[in-house]
Structures are given as structure tokens and as C-alpha cells.
């Protein structure tokens, strides 16, 4: 019983996913391991991160329980826990409660939903929906994560689907919403291989020796024969059976024209299969029909990019999943992987990359290992007298600003809107029904906090965001008392100390200290005439505080 409490808020219909630890495939670690021994990945992580000689003096130590709970919830389910879950976790004395928490969250439907959001933003970068409805794409991703579809399989589906088959059409969104081959080349390099080859459309990269036009046009050659046919709004990829990929460098005064076969960066050029001239097409391209050639260069993209032994592919996903959990890629920025931009922990990234390939791109298992590490569990509070610039990376956990989605859902949970909706849905409540009811509320958060379409999600604190939180109707309406929400619960509590606890557990996922309790009591005592408004003001102050805004 004690280990299952965290499932209460997560879903009413949790499948009987095992809470027991399943031993992950062991990864043979490099230097430092016993001869012939294998080391679980989470130990490899801890060993390599704490390797610097002076690490111990900067080590911030483990995060307090409340911080760990909140962090795990945000990273794995995209929202914060209820006060009930928080209370129970803090009271739980089991030494394995953190491991059970990680396992439970990974098995939850909220986790699949959250990863669907994360990968949607990562792969689509908030581009407008034109040809594939977002709901279909989102469902497709959610189902993939619920089934723990391996990344290479998911990537292959995304890179292979041409949109013609309704069953696989959602996966084609990556291609269809971009359409144009140069844009696709750039984003395939950035998002699947960790290489921003944008400059190389026109010339070899002036500063990065490893990014050259031949790399760019190697990718381009897979898709250079394609266009999006949008006859009658269908939006399907059409491919020709001919067409060479040629390029010149704008820096080359001789204007030498080169040709490229389809080729992943560092890989071999793939020769075309020769097809008799009268059999070039399965479906010839016309104004109304998408071309399907007998030999398709595009069809070779997915298998070639996603090979388990292709280092950029596995390194990219390892780096991105690490960044998701720890707040920064080992290679930073995420799409600037080249020898001149060394990872912060080169040996670690090699180990992560080898591990995820060895476990056949099982993302859930990989994230589990990260979640079990001491590195992940480290406190974000700088030890006394330590300057951030002196400390080795990950000696203190990094602050991660909440994404627009996390911020919206966390505010909904903290204000108790989520509790209120769940209460009103009663026995019919499911993860899906709650998500359907709550997700439309994300719109103003995406508008205010979302990065411009076509760019990765970043962080900026603008005055219009502050005005939205201070004076806007959204937060205000969520704080207005309504059956089951935070203000409603607080109004029903008699003592100010009980109020302080419920407030802090619901919003900040921790108990208030003595100073904070006193502050709450003093404030409420000074505002007895309008207790409801006072409670809302208290809640607002914590919801807009820095502690809430960041995942720490």
C-alpha cells in the first residue's frame, strides 16, 4: 500500500504496471569498471559526473524530498503532484520511495501524454497546422509512448510516411508541414542528428570544419526529388523518379558544380537502383496524383538515418533525453555537435549513446536509469560559499524554466482547477477525460510563453507575460473559489497553520518553514475582513514566485 500512493493523483485507472524494479540491460562501461563486470547506467552516470577531483567540495548533496517529488513529476508527467500525494510522499519512510516514484510515473498515462507534448514541440516547433491536424499527430505520439515504442522505430515512421496511407498519415506531419526540401534538410540534420547544417546550403561552414556542403547535400539528395502535392487539400508527398542533386559553393569563384548521392553525414553514398525506363513509376506524378517511383530515394532515408550503429543518430537522442531530465545537453546547443564543440562530459555521452543503442532505443528504460542516478537527484541549492561559476557541472542541479505546457498544467494543478474538474467528473474521470477538459486552457500560456514557430522552445521573461499573470483573467478565475479547488479547500480550514501547510503543499510541493508559517498567519490575521481575497492573494504570491516558475 505505501508505495502505491503516488498513483492516486496520476490516474484512476493505472494499469497494473509493475512497481518492482526491472533490471535494465547492463552497459559495459569504459575505464574504471571491474574487469569483465558490468555497471548499471545510473552508476556510470554518477561515476563520470563526480569524476573531477574537487567534485566533493561542490557537491550540493541530494535534493530534499519535496524538491525531488516535484522535479520527477514535472519531468515525467509535465505537472506537479497534488497536496495529498505530496503529504504522503513526505511522510513515507521507505528508503526505496524515490525509485518507486520514478517507476510509477514512467508507467502512468500522464507520462505518455507528457512525452507526446515534449516531442511534438521538439519535432514541430509550434509550426501551424495546415495539412495534418495536431490532434491526430498528438494521439499518434501518445500511443507510441504508451507502448514505449523505441525511438528508432518512431523516427523511421516519421521519416518514411508520405501521408498517403491514412493509418500512417499523422507521422507524416514532420514532412508535410515543412514541405520544402531545404527546410527539411536543415531540420532532419538538427533534430535527428544533432547537426545544424543550415550554413552549408551555400558553402562549407566557415568555422566548423566538420559541417560541409557535401554533408548538407547528402541529406538533401534523399528528398530533393520530392514535393508536397496539395491537390484538393490532401497534402501528400510526391516523388519523381529522376533528378540529380547538384550544388556549388558561393565562395568558389570557379563555380565548380558537384553532385551528391543520398548520403548521411559520414556515411556512404547510396547508388540508385537502375530501373527500366518504361517502369520508372508505380504511380506517375500528375496534377492530381502523387508520384510513387519504382525506386525511391526518399524511402532510403529512414533506414539509413536510424541505423543503430550510426553514431550521430543515437548520440542525438541520448543527448536530448539527457537535456530533458538534467536541463542542459552534454552537447550544447543540442544541434551543434561537432568535434570543436566538445561535450561537457565526453566519456559520459559516449556511454549514454552506446547504452541507448544497446537497449534498442528503449527510451523509457533509458530515462529510468537517469532518474535513478544520484546526479538526477541532486539538490539545486548552491552549497554555502560556492559560486556557480566555480562548481563543476551537475554538482548542483540546474534550474529548468517550466515550459509553457508545464507552467499551464502546474498552475491548473496548484490552483486546484484540476482537482475541481476531477471531482466534477466523478467516477467517469480518466486521464483522457481530464486532459480533454484541461488542455484547452493551455492556449493563453502557449501564446504568452511559447517561442516563435520554427524555433526551439526557449526562455524569456517579458513584460506582457508578467501582466498576463498579474492582471489577466486566467489565473484570477482559477483562484476564484469553486468546489474542490485550492481556495475552496483553504476557506474550509479553520487554523492558519493548516492553511499554510495546504498552501505550500499544493503550490510548492513542500511544507512551510517556521518563518513562512508566521508570514501566512500574520497576513491572514491582518485581513480577517476579506479572508477569501486574502487567501487568493497569498496563493497568487506563491504561484508567481520564482520558486514556482522554475523546475528545481
Amino acid at each position: 500500500m505505501p508505495q502505491r500512493w503516488f498513483l492516486l493523483s496520476v490516474s484512476l485507472f493505472v494499469c497494473a504496471a509493475s512497481a518492482e524494479a526491472v533490471a535494465p540491460p547492463a552497459v559495459r562501461s569504459s575505464a574504471g569498471a571491474k574487469a569483465g563486470g558490468t555497471e548499471p547506467l545510473h552508476r556510470t552516470i554518477d561515476r563520470l559526473v563526480s569524476a573531477p577531483k574537487d567534485f566533493a567540495q561542490f557537491d550540493a548533496g541530494p535534493a530534499p524530498d519535496g524538491e525531488f517529488l516535484r522535479r520527477a513529476y514535472l519531468d515525467l508527467t509535465g505537472t506537479i503532484p497534488t497536496a495529498t500525494v505530496a503529504r504522503a510522499f513526505l511522510k513515507d519512510a521507505s528508503p526505496t520511495k524515490r525509485q518507486f516514484l520514478i517507476d510509477g510515473l514512467l508507467a502512468s498515462p500522464e507520462h505518455s501524454r507528457h512525452l507526446a507534448n515534449v516531442f511534438d514541440v521538439m519535432l514541430m516547433e509550434r509550426r501551424a497546422d495546415r495539412l495534418v491536424p495536431r490532434a491526430a499527430w498528438h494521439s499518434y505520439l501518445r500511443d507510441a509512448f504508451a507502448a514505449n515504442k523505441p525511438w528508432d522505430e518512431l523516427a523511421r515512421e516519421i521519416l518514411a510516411s508520405n501521408g498517403a496511407d491514412p493509418k500512417t498519415r499523422p507521422a507524416a506531419k514532420f514532412f508535410l508541414e515543412r514541405g520544402e526540401p531545404h527546410l527539411l534538410t536543415r531540420d532532419i540534420g538538427r533534430l535527428f542528428l544533432g547537426m545544424n547544417l543550415q550554413c552549408c546550403q551555400c558553402h562549407d561552414h566557415p568555422r566548423i570544419e566538420d559541417y560541409r556542403q557535401e554533408h548538407y547535400y547528402g541529406i538533401f539528395a534523399f528528398i530533393g526529388r520530392t514535393t508536397v502535392l496539395n491537390a484538393k487539400g490532401t497534402g501528400v508527398i510526391s516523388e519523381k523518379a529522376d533528378g540529380e542533386t547538384t550544388f556549388q559553393s558561393v565562395f568558389d569563384p570557379a563555380k565548380v558544380t558537384k553532385t551528391s548521392l543520398p548520403r548521411v553525414p559520414g556515411g556512404k553514398g547510396l547508388a540508385d537502383t537502375v530501373v527500366p525506363k518504361d517502369k520508372l513509376y508505380v504511380v506517375a506524378p500528375t496534377a492530381g496524383a502523387a508520384g510513387v517511383p519504382t525506386y525511391s530515394r526518399r524511402a532510403r532515408l529512414a533506414p539509413e538515418v536510424t541505423r543503430a550503429d550510426y553514431e550521430p543518430f543515437r548520440r542525438n537522442i541520448a543527448n536530448r533525453l539527457w537535456a530533458h531530465m538534467l536541463g542542459r545537453g552534454l552537447v550544447h546547443p543540442l544541434d551543434m555537435d561537432y568535434p570543436g564543440n566538445q561535450p561537457s562530459h565526453a566519456e559520459l555521452l559516449d556511454a549514454l549513446s552506446a547504452d541507448i543503442a544497446a537497449r534498442k532505443f528503449d527510451m523509457r528504460g533509458f530515462m529510468r536509469e537517469i532518474g535513478l542516478s544520484q546526479t538526477y537527484a541532486r539538490s539545486s541549492a548552491l552549497p554555502a560559499g560556492v559560486k556557480e561559476t566555480d562548481a563543476p557541472l551537475y554538482a548542483t542541479a540546474l534550474l529548468k524554466p517550466l515550459t509553457p505546457e508545464q507552467f499551464g498544467f502546474a498552475l491548473m494543478q496548484a490552483t486546484g482547477l484540476t482537482d475541481s474538474i476531477r471531482q466534477s467528473q466523478g467516477k467517469t474521470a480518466t486521464e483522457q477525460s481530464l486532459y480533454t477538459a484541461l488542455s484547452p486552457n493551455l492556449a493563453p500560456f502557449i501564446r504568452a510563453f511559447g517561442s516563435p514557430a520554427g524555433t526551439p522552445q526557449g526562455f524569456d521573461a517579458t513584460v506582457d507575460q508578467a501582466l498576463f499573470l498579474a492582471n489577466g483573467p486566467t489565473l484570477r478565475s482559477w483562484l476564484t473559489p469553486r468546489a474542490g479547488n485550492l481556495t475552496d479547500r483553504l476557506l474550509k480550514l479553520a487554523g492558519n497553520d493548516a492553511v499554510a501547510e495546504e498552501l505550500y503543499l499544493s503550490i510548492l510541493t513542500r511544507l512551510p518553514d517556521a518563518e513562512e508559517r508566521k508570514e501566512v498567519a500574520d497576513f491572514l490575521t491582518s485581513r480577517t475582513k476579506d479572508r477569501s481575497a486574502a487567501l487568493q492573494d497569498l496563493a497568487w504570491a506563491l504561484l508567481t514566485s520564482t520558486e514556482f516558475r522554475f523546475n528545481h
Partner: protein, 430 residues
């Protein structure tokens, strides 16, 4: 009586409503007695050497033949005559009598050839100084100015767009790689930014109390961990509070009544007055949109109406800025996405035309009375000093004291502020 004319370009942005010719717009501006020079709090806001920019965006493509480069008596000239201006030898269309009296403060660039007849792409050229490129978005002039001329201490958004029909929000795409801080904020029909007013249920003292609680809670957390991001977050509330204190800046009804007369009581007049108010209050870059100039039909009637709305407030704005000592430090640009064809089509309209058209400038760094560029007798080609959007962008930056040959840097990658293949139009620079 208003009729909706739906034929202009078929795009939602070009809904057109035919408005009755406003009474009084043909009347003389009269003598402007701006006795009150800037003083007190407003003056304090203006730091020495602070530069600012005002763009009047005539949306849809104003006809250069009905404004800055008329060709009367030719097969392309249309029915209007020219008038003299306050600069001997410089003539403009008779539809701009008030503006003509301000010509000594203005410069004209008549030799523009941007080779782009599409609204969207033309707008990109005129806003960013570059042609639209796949895979690379350049920031608007407004975002560049907000960053290079503005100050982080300034609570006002750096790039403000006063528009007849906006979304009342932040347009994050405008600032490209400069980041959302320098994006434009749209003031829909000249209304204040969204959420600038404290909710009525929340009184000032409660607001102060809850912010004090927020700050104390934040400080407790920041004792353990302080980063650039946490600083930016807490600072944004300070900026919000300052902006709320200045919300009257966005309320033109606070101006003495005489200014409503001088600028005109129609929307564009009020928007110009708001622009002056914002610039005076410390705004770095203000763009005012006037719509709609996309006159594929009835070009001449529409220009009478549109320029009738434009002329008085624009002249009032220049005079007002001058009287307040702001004009010499404020660059003023009047532009569109392109001009209009010399050829008059069978609907008495002119179509999109980017091969020989004009932009008007005034204010900071601009040589009053200067004219750059010539077109041939009927306006079908540039004959002297041909320039494009890149040259204009160089010129704007140079006029406000920036070096257009400098670079921005994204992750160490240099991005020139202006098109390296272009240069300033020195003939119009002081």
C-alpha cells in the same frame, strides 16, 4: 454611409470600407500654437542623445504618383495636379497640402526598385532590409532599434505597433533571433497593451501586499540559487508595475482638446497623437499603420480619402515633434510594401508596382529638402540613383547613429545588421 469594398486583393488584411470624406480635413491646419514645450516629468524621461524612430506604414502600397513623385499631364499621371512645397523646386501631389508645408523637414527617395510585387514579401523587404530567405528570418527595423537604441530599464516595450486592427499581443516573429523581448506589441486600434489595468476587484494596497509577499517568497528561494533567468523573471514584474503606472501614456483622451483638433478626430489622427505621446513618454520605436492603400479599383477616389486622412495628422505630427524638441532625435519614415503601377487599369485602379517608387523621410539624421533618385517622364523606370530595401535599411540605421556595417552574433555566427551588398543613401543624410 459605409460600404464594404471587398475587391482589394482578396486577402482578409485588405478589407476596405469606403468612408465618407471627413468634414474639415480639407480645411487648413491653421496656425499651430504649441506654446508648451516639453517640461517636467516628460522631459526627464528623455535622456540626452536618446534616439527614437517613428514609421508610418501605409498598408497596401500607397501610390507614389499620388504622393511623392507625381507625373501630371502624362498618360500615367492621373487627374491630380502638383503643388509647390516649402522646398523650392520640389513638387508633390496636390492631395498633400499640409505635408507640403513640412517638406523642408523631409527628404524623398524616389529611385526605389525592390523587384517584389507581393504584399507579404514586399513587407519583409521594407521591414527587414532583406529579401525573404528560406531558413533565415531577419529582425524588423523596430526590433533592431528596440535592441540597439532602447534600454532594458525602459518599462515601455521597445517596439510598439499602433494599428487599426491588431491582435493586442506580442508578435514574436518580428524580432527573429533577437528574441521575444524585442518583438512588437500591437495596440489594437490604439488601445493600451492587454492586461495593463489592475482588475477592479483588486485594490492598489492588496496588489502591493501580494507583490511584497511574492518578492519575499522569491528572495527566500533566490538565496539558495540565483541565475540570469531568475533575475529576468523577477525583473519582468517590476517592468509590468512600471508599465501599469504609465498606462495613461496610452490614453489620448488625456491630451488637451486642441490636439484632437490638430490631429483630427478620426482613427489615424488619434493614432498619430498616441504615437507622439508614446515617443515623448520614452518609446524607442513606434509604427503606426494606416490602411488601406491597395487601390486596384478606384485608385484616385481612394487616395483622396486615404490621403485626406493621412495629410493633416502627419503634418501635425512633424510640427508637434519639432515644437517639442523631439524631431531632431526622432527618425520618421513613411513607407509601404511597394508603390503602384503607372498604368491605370480599366477599373481606374493602379496595381502593385515595385520598379520605381518612393519613400519619405524626416527628422533625425535626415537632410531636410533633399531628394534622391529620379524616375522617367511617366514614372515607368528609375533613371537615376536606383536603390532597394537594403539601401534604405542602411540609411535608417545610419540616421539614428548606428553603424549598419556591424554584425549581430548568434552563437558566434556573425549576422550583418544590414544587407552587406547595400550602403547608405548619403544624399538624404544630414
Amino acid at each position: 454611409m459605409t460600404n464594404r469594398a471587398t475587391y482589394a486583393c482578396n486577402s482578409p488584411a485588405h478589407d476596405l470600407s469606403r468612408r465618407s470624406f471627413l468634414a474639415g480635413t480639407a480645411g487648413a491646419l491653421g496656425s499651430l500654437s504649441f506654446g508648451n514645450f516639453l517640461h517636467g516629468a516628460a522631459a526627464g524621461k528623455l535622456e540626452k542623445d536618446q534616439k527614437r524612430v517613428l514609421v508610418i506604414w501605409l498598408s497596401g502600397g500607397v501610390s507614389q504618383l499620388e504622393t511623392w513623385d507625381p507625373k501630371p499631364g502624362t498618360n500615367t499621371g492621373g487627374p491630380f495636379q502638383t503643388i509647390e512645397t516649402s522646398v523650392p523646386g520640389v513638387h508633390i501631389c496636390e492631395l498633400l497640402p499640409h505635408t507640403a508645408k513640412q517638406m523642408h523637414r523631409m527628404a524623398l527617395v524616389r529611385g526605389i526598385n525592390t523587384i517584389e510585387d507581393d504584399h507579404g514579401k514586399g513587407a519583409v523587404i521594407m521591414h527587414t532590409g532583406r529579401r525573404q530567405e528560406p531558413g533565415m528570418t531577419y529582425p524588423h527595423l523596430g526590433s533592431v532599434c528596440a535592441k540597439m537604441l532602447g534600454s532594458d530599464r525602459n518599462p515601455l516595450p521597445g517596439y510598439i505597433h499602433v494599428t487599426p486592427r491588431g491582435n493586442g499581443g506580442v508578435n514574436a516573429a518580428d524580432s527573429a533571433f533577437l528574441g521575444p523581448r524585442y518583438a512588437s506589441i500591437s495596440l489594437d486600434n490604439g488601445q493600451a497593451p492587454a492586461n495593463i489595468t489592475r482588475p477592479t476587484e483588486l485594490n492598489e494596497s492588496s496588489d502591493a501586499e501580494r507583490n511584497a509577499l511574492r518578492l519575499r517568497a522569491s528572495e527566500r528561494f533566490l538565496k539558495k540559487r540565483r541565475t540570469a533567468d531568475t533575475e529576468a523573471y523577477t525583473h519582468s514584474y517590476d517592468q509590468a508595475a512600471q508599465l501599469m503606472r504609465q498606462k495613461d501614456l496610452f490614453d489620448v483622451s488625456k491630451e488637451p482638446a486642441k490636439y484632437a483638433d490638430m490631429y483630427g478626430k478620426h482613427d489615424f489622427g488619434r493614432h498619430c497623437l498616441m504615437a507622439r505621446r508614446l515617443l515623448e513618454g520614452g518609446a524607442t520605436f513606434v509604427k503606426v499603420t494606416h490602411s488601406n492603400y491597395d487601390t486596384h479599383h478606384e485608385n484616385f477616389d481612394f487616395h483622396i480619402e486615404q490621403l485626406g486622412e493621412f495629410d493633416q495628422p502627419f503634418a501635425a505630427l512633424l510640427e508637434d515633434l519639432h515644437q517639442r524638441g523631439l524631431l531632431s532625435s526622432t527618425l520618421v519614415v513613411v513607407m509601404s510594401e511597394f508603390g503602384r503601377t503607372p498604368n491605370i487599369n480599366r477599373n481606374y485602379g493602379r496595381d502593385h508596382w515595385s520598379r520605381a517608387w518612393s519613400v519619405a523621410l524626416a527628422g533625425c539624421g535626415i537632410k531636410g529638402g533633399a531628394v534622391s533618385g529620379k524616375t522617367n517622364a511617366n514614372g515607368t523606370a528609375v533613371t537615376d540613383r536606383m536603390v532597394h530595401g537594403g539601401h534604405l535599411f542602411h540609411t535608417y540605421l545610419k540616421a539614428v547613429g548606428l553603424d549598419p556595417k556591424k554584425n549581430f552574433y548568434i552563437d558566434q555566427r556573425p549576422i550583418p545588421m544590414a544587407d552587406p551588398k547595400a550602403s547608405v543613401i548619403s544624399e538624404v543624410l544630414a
